[in-house]
Symmetry: C2
Subunit: 257 residues, 2 copies
């Protein structure tokens, strides 16, 4: 590539989260970067977009003397990508990276994930895209063991591109005293959250709930992201946004409506 | 079925929207229903869930003397389904229906859709589920031409079930002077929204944006939902939430990370 690649960086934990600051640092070694990220945490936002409200998107300077531009946006991760590509960037980026999320986006978490919705939104617009997540929810999570992998995976995608309609969902095990064993290309495990709402009463006497839950992996397969992560591998799941269950079309054609 | 089926009804336009009132009326002829729906419009919420805020969910009485219970919830469509199955319903419902949405959820709209996220959430929990949408955004949209189809499709799903991991996305053309031609089993068309942000200045002098956009169908296939709807058919797309791009796994295994 003659020109330096243009890389859009975003996330769902907000523009000041350590995860995105690490991602910015890594991506700066691969190309020219522009950061457009939410001004506040947007976890669990799924593929929400802002239709009935106004959007703010202001230049900010978080790392002084940084050679890249940053924009803080009042919207969702998907809004950030839309604003970046349509309003801020002068040309289509060569890559969009989202994260590094503080917390897992493996298996069914992909459908609730703001991190992955940003990557999917970029993919819909024809931009190669990767979501990165670390299985550590803490604000001061350690990202050191992820860095070389993140750089290599992004470099590969810049060099080889991705097929139309496919983005990557990359998850890292939490750091431990065992080095990572490498990467595994995986399918999304069949898992779900079983909710256990915490019911309380507010000072005015009205019932309210907190959403809590337990993650249940029903999938024993050794080709899943859950298996890879449990065995100290980096999981890479190719993700598509054609949601058609093609395998069921033929059967449905036999139904009488 | 000896016992009357239990049907959970929800939507994303809010519990008082005409679309869900029509759906309630139709579902009441098929089984015992319980309504758990957002207290306000939630369009474009995708698969958002409420993690960092409290949830209210209160019994309401909208149709006086109605033989069913209704609950109005402060959360997203996905929250409504979680609250219904974990807190409100005494047993797992036999069917979850979402809608009828005021506006299209065909093709790529499925990933932004609160209506479909409720159906997908039910599907994740192992409940047969259908999202219904009408290609008419107006509050006083006419749902008459949809009613027989909605009843038949729901009846078929109650009788035959759906495969694990599959829910249905049903869209109806706007009413016209031509009768509907029937149903078409379709794949999701390859389409996208190209945004055209409306940039304005607020009274304090700060720039802000409204998200607007144009829907672009890049797919000429006659097996797509867009084709069916443009030709006055009811489109039925089987939708899955295993987002793995299985076709790309083998290629990715050859990459060097």
């Amino acid at each position: 590539m003659a020109k330096k690649p243009l890389i859009l960086v975003t996330n769902d934990d907000g523009i000041t989260a350590p995860g995105i600051r690490n991602l910015i640092e890594i991506m700066s070694t691969l190309g020219d970067i522009v950061v457009v990220a939410p001004d506040s945490p947007q976890s669990g936002m799924g593929h929400a977009i802002t239709i009935n409200d106004t959007l703010y998107c202001d230049p900010v300077s978080i790392d002084k003397n940084a050679p890249y531009k940053e924009y803080s946006c009042s919207g969702t991760p998907a809004d950030c990508v839309k604003l970046a590509t349509q309003q801020i960037l002068k040309r289509k980026p060569d890559l969009c990276v989202s994260g590094v999320n503080h917390g897992s986006n493996s298996s069914i978490n992909v459908i609730y994930s703001g991190t992955m919705s940003a990557a999917v939104e970029a993919g819909v617009e024809g931009i190669p895209a990767i979501g990165f997540s670390l299985l550590d929810y803490s604000h001061d999570a350690n990202f050191e063991h992820c860095k070389t992998y993140i750089k290599n995976i992004a470099k590969q995608v810049l060099e080889q591109g991705l097929p139309k309609g496919v983005v990557l969902n990359v998850n890292f095990p939490k750091i431990s005293n065992q080095p990572l064993k490498g990467t595994k290309i995986c399918r999304q495990a069949n898992a779900l959250w079983v909710e256990d709402f915490d019911k309380r009463v507010n000072p005015q006497g009205r019932d309210y709930y907190w959403l809590t839950g337990e993650f249940i992996n029903k999938d024993k397969g050794e080709d899943t992201d859950e298996w890879a992560l449990a065995n100290n591998y980096v999981s890479i799941v190719p993700v598509q946004f054609d949601l058609t269950a093609h395998h069921f079309i033929q059967d449905l054609n036999n139904w009488e409506f």
